[in-house]
């Protein structure tokens, strides 16, 4: 009973703040609501006793990815572009067609799919017997699903190397922080000129 009430509360907060995310015109307010929505989803995971998933939800989404979002927003100073309509006038109409399609897909998949767990069904008792949430998940991940797991990390590595290559363009020495680490005498004359 208590769990059902809590589920309704957290689900309502998650959906409500999700609606807020797409209706706010101020992008930082939207970001804060998105963080709040993610935290509420983590709370729903907690209600289903999926402790590890809940913590990873906070760590990866609310803690890491959205911090990056916040950085980008702050660097770009998007306050000046609050009306995104001027930048992407056709986007509204594309979204109007695409979003019902995606929604329909979700509904169809959710209704049609039969969910099976790797290595049998789990309930709180079997999880406790198997040594807890983290131990069981780790075992499944590194025993039964090792190849997909390693593939995922490889894809992430490719993304990381790509980002470094794109960011480290040549001919931008003054962007390099190492240019600052020497003494004043070591600075190149052009550099001092630029600064003045």
């Amino acid at each position: 009973m208590v769990e059902k009430v809590l589920f309704v509360v957290f689900a309502a907060l998650a959906v409500g703040s999700g609606v807020g995310v797409i209706t706010r015109s101020n992008i930082v307010h939207a970001l804060m609501l998105l963080i709040f929505s993610f935290v509420n989803i983590a709370a729903i995971y907690l209600l289903t006793s999926a402790f590890f998933i809940a913590v990873v939800q906070i760590l990866v989404y609310a803690g890491a990815i959205l911090v990056l979002f916040t950085f980008v927003v702050m660097f770009l100073n998007l306050r000046q572009y609050q009306s995104m309509e001027q930048l992407h006038p056709t986007q509204k109409w594309v979204a109007l067609i695409l979003t019902p399609l995606v929604l329909a897909e979700f509904v169809v998949v959710a209704l049609a799919a039969t969910w099976t767990a790797v290595g049998g069904a789990y309930d709180p008792e079997t999880v406790a017997a198997g040594g807890g949430n983290v131990a069981l998940l780790g075992e499944r991940l590194f025993a039964d699903a090792l190849l997909p797991f390693e593939m995922a990390s490889l894809i992430l590595l490719v993304g990381m190397v790509g980002a470094v290559v794109l960011a480290a363009k040549e001919g931008h020495e003054y962007m390099d922080t190492r240019a600052w680490s020497g003494t004043d005498e070591e600075r190149t004359p052009e550099f001092v000129e630029q600064e003045v």
Binding site: N26, V28, H29, M32, I35, F51, F52, V55, V56, I58, L59, A62, G63, A64, V67, T70, F71, M74, F75, G132, N133, V134, T177, R178, W180, S181
Partner: protein, 334 residues
């Protein structure tokens, strides 16, 4: 029902410890600052100036609540509180004594939540604390504040990585992510505490925690000489006070976590000293680390920003990975 009441009592006690220590810490900080710099520190309010913190509080509360006209009102108002919530939740993971203690006829575990993924929970909450300074600085609509916010965000994100990797060594040795089991793995005297086999991890974790707390020598985010006061530039009165309060609460929590992971938590250094309750051992270890934080703050000059990033990414990160690799190798061989 009794379980629920016991839980509420535990939560209140935890918050009381975290919040109740802060006025004393502010007083200690001022006195230590005086001591390290050959000054007297506060002397007027109360005996040896011991009521100074309460005077500060009265001053801050009676000040006008200023919100700059160009600031983003709601975010500006919320930001200082964001520092608190993760700190309080982290505090619930710390065991203050053994499990199944008999108190007034009730069986009580001296921890609020014996959480399966406790260490990861602590790291996750630490990553949420970044939003306090970052949003506060952004919402101020001030160049100094924005620069301070960017610096503090980049700094906290960078040092989180070495911090997380430094703990993994302990996790591998203790074979658990639960703070309660980590303390149990260190039972039997101080030679079993993890700071000895994990000395490298311990040092990395401690230094990274200073960076996470935005304290000197890593307080780049507020660097007075360059950024006025960084992300706190536009804050005044009690809103500024709440930022400071949050930093001290975070200091209490961080010292509790370090003591739990590396110094045996509530365990006594020798088994015959177990007659002294674990709570007192934990608090004295926390006070030791808090003293270290203050000592370092008032002794060392501030690092430059590129030096800070160099230390984090080029020294600590490889060291932490090497430490983890060596630990894993030794554990799997022995």
């Amino acid at each position: 029902m009794t379980e629920f009441i016991i839980l509420i009592i535990k939560l209140v006690l935890i918050i009381a410890v975290a919040v109740g220590m802060v006025p004393f810490l502010i007083f200690f900080e001022r006195k230590f600052a005086g001591f390290f710099q050959s000054r007297m520190g506060p002397t007027y309010a109360g005996p040896w100036g011991s009521l100074q913190s309460f005077g500060d509080m009265a001053k801050l509360m009676s000040k006008e609540d200023l919100v700059p006209a160009a600031a983003d009102g709601p975010v500006f108002r919320i930001a200082p509180y964001i520092l608190f919530v993760p700190a309080f939740v982290s505090m619930t993971l710390i065991p203050f004594g053994p499990m199944d203690v008999d108190i007034f006829g009730y069986n009580v575990d001296l921890v609020v939540s014996s959480f399966d993924a406790g260490v990861i929970m602590f790291l996750a909450l630490g990553s949420l604390a970044v939003y306090g300074p970052v949003l506060g600085g952004w919402a101020s609509n001030n160049n100094w504040a924005l620069l301070g916010a960017l610096r503090s965000g980049a700094q906290m994100v960078s040092y989180e990585i070495s911090m997380g990797l430094a703990v993994v060594g302990v996790i591998v040795m203790a074979n658990t992510l639960n703070f309660v089991d980590i303390v149990d793995a260190q039972a039997g005297g101080f030679w079993n505490w993890f700071f000895i086999p994990q000395l490298v991890g311990f040092v990395i974790f401690f230094v990274a925690s200073i960076a996470e707390l935005n304290r000197d020598p890593f307080n780049l985010a507020e660097a007075e000489q360059e950024l006025v006061a960084g992300y706190m530039t536009e804050y005044s009165g009690m809103r500024w006070g709440i930022f400071m309060f949050g930093e001290y609460v975070n200091m209490v929590v961080m010292s509790a976590v370090i003591s739990t992971i590396f110094l045996g938590g509530w365990r006594a250094p020798f088994e015959f000293l177990d007659v002294i309750p674990g709570f007192i051992w934990l608090v004295s270890k926390m006070l030791f680390f808090i003293f270290l934080y203050m000592w370092i703050r008032w002794t060392l000059p501030r690092y430059r920003y590129n030096q800070l990033m160099d230390i984090g990414w080029k020294i600590f990160l490889p060291l932490a990975i090497a430490n983890l690799a060596v630990t894993a190798l030794i554990i799997s061989v022995v």
